[in-house]
Amino acid sequence: MSVHEQFAEDLALYALGALQGEERVSLEKHLEGCAGCRRELDQLRGDMALMALSTAGPVPPRRARQRLIEAVAREPRRSAAPAERRWWTLVPWVAAAALAAGLVALWLQNSDLQQRMAGLQDQSAQQLAELQRAREVVSTLTATDAMRVTLVAAKTPPQPQGKAIYVRDRSSLIFLASNLLPLPAQKAYELWLIPTSGAPIPAGVFKPDAHGSAVVVNPPLPPGVQAKAFAITVEPEAGSAAPTLPIVMVGAGE
């Protein structure tokens, strides 16, 4: 500025657009080659902007805002060269990015839900399959037309046999018997759970089929009883609350 004092006052006028004619032309010529004066011109424009502040107060009517928004909506903007891009040119992109992020979040949420649903479906299918298997096991065990074969050492005469499978935590008991002796009329076999302490607990009344086979599946039992042994007695068809001696078959847990 100090180097070009002769232009200093003209610069102020030029910034204001108040410089005309010859003076304007010669200043513009000078500006082309003088970075210092160009900087000063920028400065003066900043000073001018301050002048604008002295007017601040009146605000545009609301309709002006609407008018601008409508005009903007009507008019696609010219795309600025990347080098010239300014922060607000990114606003639509930021908005688009935010929208995309929102969509991605929704999509993730959705796929998460789908995964969980698929997981539940898998689980459900698995449970169905397990149930199916369990049903098959039970129906095989209990089928009246099932062939039941007990294998013993060769040349050993068939002996009455029973096998109890007991799961204490589930109070679940499966009992399979074979080669049972036929019963007198009005009589049935009764299975007993012999607990580690206390009286024998009734574990089902059954009659063997023509081949001497019988199955008891999950008779009603009190929960969590520790079994010491299982025994079978012959009882009236309705069953008894306490075993009637003698015990015809017995087996102790390992």
Binding site: G17, M48, M51, L53, T55, P60, R65, L68
Partner: protein, 156 residues
């Protein structure tokens, strides 16, 4: 764009209104300035100043052009405004406004008048000289020192 409008429309509008003295014409300038920015955001170079002052200068140019019924003389792409504090915040703007008014108020009446005639009426120094009867050189000096006084007020 709406956010920019909400932030800067008051400055743009009040300058245009002060220059044109007509709300409808001021609205047109407001619309034009923001549409220009919308159509070609590259016009404003943020590395060389901040947006608020730039808009204020452009608004004044457009309003003066309208006042003098002339075609736009200044290519706004050329306008660079070197101005540090942005007027973005309401509080900053209010403080800056007070400072400007204070500075203008403390100027000698003749200096303030010359500055305002040049700024708001878009008069050339010779026109001001004719109107006021003051020598050309005096007008020039007053305008420049007026602008420098504003700068100085914000330099601290």
């Amino acid at each position: 764009m709406a956010a920019l409008y909400d932030r800067y429309s008051a400055v743009v509008y009040s300058v245009a209104l002060r220059v044109l003295g007509d709300t409808g014409a001021a609205e047109d300038v407001l619309q034009e300035v923001f549409m220009q920015l919308w159509r070609n955001p590259g016009l404003f170079d943020s590395s060389r100043g901040s947006l608020g002052p730039w808009l204020a200068v452009i608004a004044r140019h457009r309003a003066i052009d309208g006042l003098r019924k002339r075609r736009p003389e200044t290519d706004i792409a050329d306008v660079v405004v070197s101005f540090e504090p942005d007027m973005a915040g309401d509080a900053e703007r209010a403080r800056a406004m007070e400072k400007v008014r204070g500075t203008l108020g403390s100027m000698p009446q003749a200096q303030r008048q010359a500055l305002e005639m040049a700024y708001f009426e878009g008069l050339s120094h010779s026109e001001i000289s004719e109107k006021t009867g003051e020598p050309l050189g005096t007008i020039k000096t007053r305008i420049r020192s007026g602008l420098l006084a504003l700068r100085k007020a914000f330099a601290t």
